[in-house]
């Protein structure tokens, strides 16, 4: 039987995977993947609570709509930043991108 708790568990698992990627990976693209996974986990959580509220409200869906749009914008700017960092330092290993010069 599918309850609200099952959706929260899936969302928490996705959050855990995202946090693992964010803290361990060195490639800037993988860190971006991890950020997107975390945002998706949050969206899933919002949508689940929206549905299981009594009575279901549509404002939860408004939040998810907004979140999807905001995540798209943030991914665009993040990717532009990665491009610029690659052009200047010829690497996207975040351990090496630790100097403000250049």
């Amino acid at each position: 039987m599918v309850t609200l708790v099952s959706y929260i568990i899936v969302s928490a698992a996705l959050l855990g995977i995202g946090v693992y990627g964010l803290s361990v990976k060195r490639n800037a693209m993988r860190i971006l993947f991890a950020i997107e996974i975390i945002v998706n986990a949050a969206n899933l959580n919002f949508a689940a609570f929206t549905r299981y509220l009594n009575p279901p409200q549509v404002s939860g869906q408004v939040i998810v709509f907004y979140s999807i749009a905001a995540a798209a914008m943030e991914a665009a700017v993040g990717l532009a930043l990665i491009l610029v960092a690659f052009r200047l330092n010829n690497t996207i290993d975040v351990r090496k991108l630790n100097k403000l010069k250049g």
């Binding site: 060195r26 693209m29 969206n43 949508a47 929206t50 509220l53």
Partner: protein, 171 residues
């Protein structure tokens, strides 16, 4: 044709498997492009969750924006930041970091799941009656949340200009 009823548990478990395995593969795959494809599959899994949560419009929006735009951007950037064919920034974590990350992530998700499961009896377990029709989303956005909508539009313009300025090649 109501001969065969697929129990909702089966779809839930299948979608959860697709989403979580896609997310794990996105971070662990050897090549970045395989990771991007796995991420796209994970996003489609989340869209499936939205469909099962009575939000079909959000599901289609998720596919159109995430898989249709963000994954395209990601692929495009991956292809532009390769140094030579077949070489990626080596991703294997150094000595203690992988296990620390795993512990951190595992404890975090376990904590949240534990809190949720402990509060389980007080949480709604059956779907409340009532529906979320698509035709309500537009009017709600326009009448109850007009200012966030305008701010979103301004934010999008700022993002567009910012990304263009950042990625411009100086000639």
């Amino acid at each position: 044709m109501a001969l065969i009823d697929i129990p909702p548990d089966l779809t839930f478990v299948a979608l959860a498997a697709v989403t979580i395995i896609g997310a794990i593969l996105a971070l662990q795959a050897r090549e970045l492009i395989y990771g991007a494809v796995a991420l796209a599959i994970s996003f489609i899994g989340v869209a499936g969750f939205f469909v099962s949560l009575d939000a079909p419009y959000l599901a289609m929006l998720q596919i159109a924006i995430y898989v249709g735009a963000i994954v395209v951007l990601i692929l495009f950037t991956i292809m532009l930041v390769r140094r030579e064919v077949g070489e990626e920034a080596k991703d294997s974590p150094q000595s203690g970091e992988g296990s620390v990350g795993l512990w951190l992530a595992g404890l975090l998700s376990l904590a949240i799941s534990g809190v949720a499961a402990l509060a389980g009896p007080n949480m709604p377990s059956t779907l409340p009656s009532g529906s979320l029709p698509v035709s309500e989303l537009g009017p709600t956005l326009a009448t109850q949340y007009p200012i966030p909508l305008i701010i979103l539009a301004l934010l999008m313009s700022a993002t567009l200009i910012g990304a263009l300025v950042l990625a411009k090649v100086e000639r």
